[in-house]
């Protein structure tokens, strides 16, 4: 039975890992092998970093990578700030209008604006063709606010009462007590936001006319999913590697940064996620 289980597990793992291996192998395979194979390569004859050199040589992909990093870092910081403030405020029992605000937050979970109303709002705020259009319309996620609020509601009242007796005001309680106690939850919610910003391509497509401002995921979609071909000049290089290698290198480049964050936040995951799951 154990052997059977192991075999099934191995097959399941292979189903997931072999395509990844193919992506990485193709990105590292020499161009002539990729051409000969007619596309994907599972075992490269030799390792070639040409595709990565091309992708990171300062052309459209490098620029898009920097844009994505910038939008993700700034967006996550903005989102965490406004979400934490709103969640903390609505978790305080003495806040005036708390129920109405929470109801509004919940309503936004039920009724989400569609593409065109969102576009009209962004346009009316004068955000078209600005990076702010990638951050502000999605800065606040009702789901994340609910998760954070649940955590703040769970903070022991004695701690905040003690701080108040010691002369702390609400801002000091928030920044010096509530936030430091919420690191696990902030890490998890921050990751949710970061992944959302990192993966977003549609907002950029709608709101940014200038392709020089495009984030990596829109570049990925354009050149890998929709298969608009990249030229050597787009990448700022002289000789173009095989298109499949380039496409797979872009794919790997788009996945690696967010994968790198996971190990650092992993230990906070159980605490952070369970907090929102048990109390709302």
């Amino acid at each position: 039975m154990r052997i059977l289980t192991a075999l099934v597990m191995a097959a399941a793992c292979a189903l997931v890992l072999v395509p990844f291996a193919g992506i990485i192998s193709t990105s590292l395979a020499p161009s002539d092998q990729v051409t000969r194979s007619g596309g994907m390569v599972l075992i490269p004859e030799s390792i070639s970093l040409d595709a990565y050199r091309s992708v990171l040589s300062g052309g459209v992909v490098t620029r898009a990578l920097l844009v994505s990093i910038g939008v993700t870092v700034v967006g996550t910081a903005v989102s965490l700030s406004v979400s934490a403030l709103l969640a903390y405020a609505t978790s305080r029992r003495h806040m005036v209008g708390r129920t109405a605000v929470v109801t509004l937050i919940l309503l936004s979970l039920l009724f989400t604006p569609g593409m065109i109303p969102s576009y009209l709002a962004v346009k009316d705020f004068g955000l078209i063709n600005s990076y702010a259009a990638l951050v502000l319309p999605v800065a606040l996620s009702a789901f994340n606010v609910i998760v954070m609020r649940a955590f703040f509601l769970g903070l022991p009242g004695e701690v905040t009462d003690a701080a108040r007796i010691d002369g702390a005001n609400e801002w000091q309680i928030f920044t010096r007590i509530a936030l430091p106690l919420s690191r696990a939850m902030l890490a998890v919610v921050g990751l949710f936001y970061a992944v959302g910003y990192w993966n977003a391509f549609f907002t950029a497509l709608l709101y940014l006319d200038d392709a020089a401002r495009w984030p990596l995921q829109l570049v990925l979609r354009t050149y890998v999913v929709n298969e608009n071909p990249l030229g050597a000049a787009d990448l700022g290089i002289d000789r173009l590697p095989a298109q499949p290698s380039l496409q797979m290198a872009i794919l790997v480049t788009s996945v690696v940064p967010i994968l790198c964050i996971y190990p650092f936040l992993q230990r906070h995951f159980a605490t952070g996620v369970l907090t929102g799951a048990v109390k709302g």
């Binding site: 007619g38 596309g39 065109i116 497509l205 354009t222 608009n228 990249l230 499949p244």
Partner: protein, 543 residues
């Protein structure tokens, strides 16, 4: 200038509805397909041919291979000595905003783009472009429509109720383009009359065709060098020959298969079978219930069952299939006629790479039919809010449509000499370092009539010309050109998608060929009957 008082007015709510419907519409640009938006207006309507523009071909450049009307394009072995096309800059000095799609890489922005800067200088107006990858254009177009941000000139994206949309958002061009009026815009006058049928809406010319003419036809390419190596020097003369050829070219143990995919258009051509619609004895009919569909599917199944089709073909994108052809993984590949030249460009580094289009034989011998879709890949329009400068914008469109052989064409397709291209034995050779600046997508506002030209490959031009001469003597034309069906504009894509999905299932052996009949019944019940009725009425109206 046409009065707008008679226009049907679209409310913001209606436009939002249009936009939302457009946003969820899938896939191909409706304006480019026969999905109900190929012209005219009303639930079912047709073109009033009296208002069509006069056709005047540009004859200041003499081709090496003369065009034969309806049969071939012009063929050029070398780029002719460029002739001047316009006396002055077409722009009025005011900025021009435009929205286009592109199938290529997005070009550098204006400050980093010497070509774009030079284009602005030559146009006499600053051109501001919103360039969107073709795969995302539908969403971008829908938001621009609903947001009221359509620019001065725009490529018309997929739009249900096209007549209502065009009446509300596009400038009526009839007074400027109908009959001889178009002669003021010689680039546009050089577009063949048929192309304009798609632009006639409710009896008025509301758009500009993005014409491809007879170079957009589907063909089946063969790797000539591979066939020659195997001692094969004749094209198949029947389906039995094709099957035999495919078997001969297939060796799965060597990772090679004959076909990159089942060439259904080619098979239907063998059977003289229109894909969806036809004119029989002067009346519009559907061919979906034609027994020959079952025969074409049986033929496709036979190719699959013989193992001659690459097993990944159902999920492989077109670029992958082109890679298979280049890598000799497959020796036969169905594509568009215009890819003939592109495939050579893409595989310039491959020694011995040689292709030709297979003649279409009859299923049991004789001559088959060349399928000829609608001659345009869409239409563009001038915003109704820019109606006060329509003459200048049409002059710009005419400049974009400058014919092959002119200085304007040379600049638009190849850029600035010394910066974007150099001359080599009479042909412009693109500089790969700056090539990405040149494609701005303006060809989706207006474009020249296509000719046969492959720099440095005169033999390819001859082959392509010969193919056109032979194959276009017997053609199956899409009869929906110039006809409009409201039901098709709303439902054809989903109905046709279900049929195509069924076709894939049948070819893969997941469904029997007989399942086609039930699929067609569903198509008819889901709106197909209304579509046929509307097209029939439209065709009858057209006389």
């Amino acid at each position: 200038m046409k009065s707008t008082s008679s226009r049907s007015v679209l409310s913001r709510r209606h436009l939002l509805g249009l936009g939302l419907t457009t946003a969820v519409a899938s896939g191909a640009l409706a304006a480019c397909t026969s999905s109900g938006t190929s012209g005219t207006g009303g639930p079912a309507s047709a073109v009033d041919t009296d208002i069509l523009p006069t056709y005047r071909s540009f004859d200041e450049v003499v081709p090496d291979l003369a065009p034969q009307p309806g049969l071939t394009s012009s063929g050029f072995f070398r780029y002719p000595d460029p002739v001047a096309f316009s006396d002055s800059a077409p722009g009025d000095g005011r900025p021009i905003n435009a929205m286009v799609q592109t199938f290529l890489a997005i070009p550098p922005a204006l400050p980093q783009n010497a070509y774009w800067q030079e284009m602005n200088r030559r146009l006499g107006s600053d051109l501001s472009l919103s360039i969107t990858p073709a795969g995302e254009y539908a969403a971008k177009f829908a938001t621009a429509v609903a947001g009221g941000t359509l620019p001065d000139m725009f490529h018309v994206g997929p739009t249900p109720s096209l007549p209502a949309f065009m009446e509300a958002r596009a400038t009526d061009l009839t007074d400027h383009l109908s009959g001889d009026a178009i002669l003021n815009y010689p680039g546009l006058a050089n577009l063949e009359t048929d192309c304009w049928k798609q632009c006639v809406i409710n009896g008025r010319i509301m758009g500009i065709p993005i014409a491809r003419g007879i170079i957009g036809v589907p063909v089946l390419y063969a790797r000539s060098d591979v066939l020659r190596e195997r001692g094969i020097d004749e094209d198949p003369a029947s389906f039995a020959d094709l099957l035999e050829l495919c078997r001969e070219l297939t060796a799965p143990q060597a990772n090679t298969w004959a076909l990159t995919g089942v060439p259904m258009a080619y098979l239907r051509g063998m059977l003289d079978l229109p894909e969806r619609w036809a004119l029989e004895d002067g009346s519009f009919v559907s061919t979906l219930t034609d027994e020959r569909h079952l025969q074409a599917l049986e033929a496709g199944r036979a190719l699959e069952a013989a193992g001659t089709v690459n097993p990944d073909s159902a999920v492989a994108p077109l670029s992958q299939k082109k890679q298979w052809l280049a890598a000799q993984t497959c020796a036969l590949h169905a594509d568009s006629f215009v890819s003939w030249f592109g495939l050579y460009q893409q595989n310039a580094g491959l020694d011995g790479f040689e292709i030709h289009a297979l003649s279409v034989p009859g299923y049991d011998g004789g001559q088959g039919s060349q399928v000829q879709p609608i001659p345009n890949v869409g239409i563009s329009a001038i915003n109704i809010d820019a109606a006060d400068r329509v003459e200048s914008l049409l002059a710009v469109a005419s400049w974009f449509a400058a014919p092959f052989g002119t200085e304007e064409y040379l600049f638009q397709k190849y850029g600035i000499e010394g910066t974007h291209f150099t001359w080599d034995d009479g042909d412009p050779v693109v500089d790969p370092d700056t090539a990405n600046q040149v494609e701005l997508g303006t060809r989706y506002i207006a474009d020249a009539t296509r000719v046969l030209y492959a720099p440095g490959r005169s033999e390819v031009v001859e082959q392509a010309y010969d193919y056109q001469s032979r194959s276009n003597t017997k053609v199956i034309k899409d009869p929906t050109l110039g006809l409009y069906s409201e039901t098709a504009s709303r439902h054809y894509d989903s109905l046709n998608g279900a049929l195509l999905s069924l076709e894939l299932d049948i070819l893969a052996g997941r469904e029997p060929v007989t399942a086609w009949t039930a699929g067609v019944e569903e198509f008819m019940a889901g709106g197909g009957t209304e579509i046929i009725d509307e097209y029939r009425r439209a065709h009858a109206e057209a006389g």
